[in-house]
Amino acid sequence: MSPWHELENIVLNYKIFVDTSALMAPNSEKFFLDELRPLLLKYNKKVYIPRVVREELEKHKNVPEKSSSALKGIKIIEEYIGSNIADIRYEETDYIPDQVFQYIVSKFKLKYNLAFITNDKQLARDLRDQHSSLSVKTDKLLRIISIDLTGEPVIDAEQLKIDLYELGDISETPINISYIPEEGDEIRTLGQIYRLGRRVSEGGRVEYICSKVMRTLLLRFSYLKSSL
């Protein structure tokens, strides 16, 4: 699914919340005004913006280095309100956006699919942790949308990584040994005798470089101290 189709799916099936960091991101107007707004209008949907987000932007407006980004964020919110595609929400217990978003996850994660537009990586991780907490399990989904430097959406960026369990099994068959090989020792393996060259690492694993005719070979010995 392309990012655009995925965004369309999110607009249709998720409650969307907007964070200050996304509104202030470079080229965020491209995403909010050219990409998200047409979809919201097309499907008659709204995004939710906590009032504390607006208040935070007002504060940043007075900080010289953040002023222009904050003004851009305020302008986006005004455009959204003008197009009737934003709902500004406030509760008495709202203090700062991060706290509000975490409250939203705990309150609605059993009821709705939730999507947060934020460029704050730590907030994204916290929301993900809270959503996947084992004590309160849910079959509803959580999506995190960040905005890249060109103003394009990146969906679930923090999940764009490869985990060890997703890789092929590279473990070798263990054998019991009584002696850890040293530099200069002769090793019979892979059907041939090798003389161990320079030791390149040690610890729970010893690695030696051995030169052969065709290619450099890395011989690796993994061991547990208790097996010696």
């Binding site: 699914m1 392309s2 990012p3 655009w4 995925e6 047409p38 097309k42 890249d148 990146v154 969906i155 764009l160 990584k161 490869i162 985990d163 060890l164 369990y165 997703e166 890789l167 092929g168 099994d169 590279i170 892979l190 059907g191 041939q192 390149v200 694993r205 690695e207 470089i209 030169s211 052969k212 005719v213 065709m214 290619r215 450099t216 070979l217 890395l218 690796r220």
Partner: protein
């Protein structure tokens, strides 16, 4: 109408990083109209200029096939023509450097497509494969030497006798072709399960969702974050993924 989206990535292994040795893998791709090609080469660790050798091998394959696809595809001796051309360029470079040609020793996995015609050649180790409606399949595991760590190079005398060659028509059911160096296949192909690892499928999925630059960054960063022993060897992968033009325009 079909075109092919390409993705290529080479990462220097931790061992080479530690020793200050350049990445000896090289993978290049080209997608131009109905023609698309991928070439991957793994330079020999024992050869001092194999990082240059792998560049010559891949670039020669790509440009030679681009210029001579029909001739090479039709002729029985097409494979040898390709190998001879690569050797010629390697020897010319060896003369320039005044070193024996074996200092440029490198493997080759080369794949070229032209209007659903496939030309494939594999000298040495690594894995080539394709994805169709029933999953990912191995096209070739190449040829290794007597021992697990030995392989053949384009310059080896045994190259002609050990290389895997294929000329065929491709099916529309094939959605992607891919090449992996031995460093990549070690972690993306699970030998015990005889299947491609979930990480491979993740990269294929990311190809749909990310542009070329973004994908390079994501895959590169993911691999660099792995423990050192997972990528002690150079890692390289090349993918050609079929793109079908949809009639529904983005509104």
């Amino acid at each position: 109408m079909t075109s092919w989206k390409k993705f290529t990535l080479s990462i220097r292994g931790r061992l080479h990083e530690k020793e200050g040795v350049p990445c000896q893998d090289r993978v290049v791709g080209m997608s131009y109209g109905s023609f698309a090609a991928l070439a991957l080469s793994d330079g020999a660790g024992s050869a001092s200029l194999s990082h240059i050798g792998s560049k010559i091998v891949t670039n020669t394959f790509l440009h030679f096939l681009k210029a001579n696809f029909s001739e090479v595809y039709e002729k029985d001796s097409g494979y040898l023509q390709v190998i001879e051309r690569i050797r010629y360029n390697l020897e010319r470079q060896a003369k320039k450097f005044n070193v024996p040609v074996k200092e440029f020793s490198s493997t080759l996995i080369g794949l070229a497509l032209n209007n659903e015609k496939l030309f494939f050649i594999h000298v040495g180790d690594g894995i080539a494969g394709f994805v169709d409606t029933s999953g990912a399949k191995v096209l070739s595991k190449g040829a290794k030497g007597e021992f697990d760590n030995e392989t053949y190079f384009v310059t080896s005398e045994e190259a002609e006798n050990t290389m895997v060659c294929l000329k065929d028509r491709t099916s529309e059911n094939i959605s992607a072709f891919f090449l992996m160096s031995d460093g990549a296949s070690r972690i993306l192909f699970d030998k015990k399960m005889n299947a491609f690892a979930p990480a491979f499928w993740k990269i294929m999925l990311w190809m749909d969702n990310c542009d070329y630059r973004c994908l390079k960054k994501i895959v590169g960063n993911s691999l660099k974050a792995l423990p050192a022993h997972y990528i002690y060897d150079d890692f390289s992968i090349g993918v050609l993924k079929r793109v079908k033009y949809e009639s529904v325009a983005r509104t």
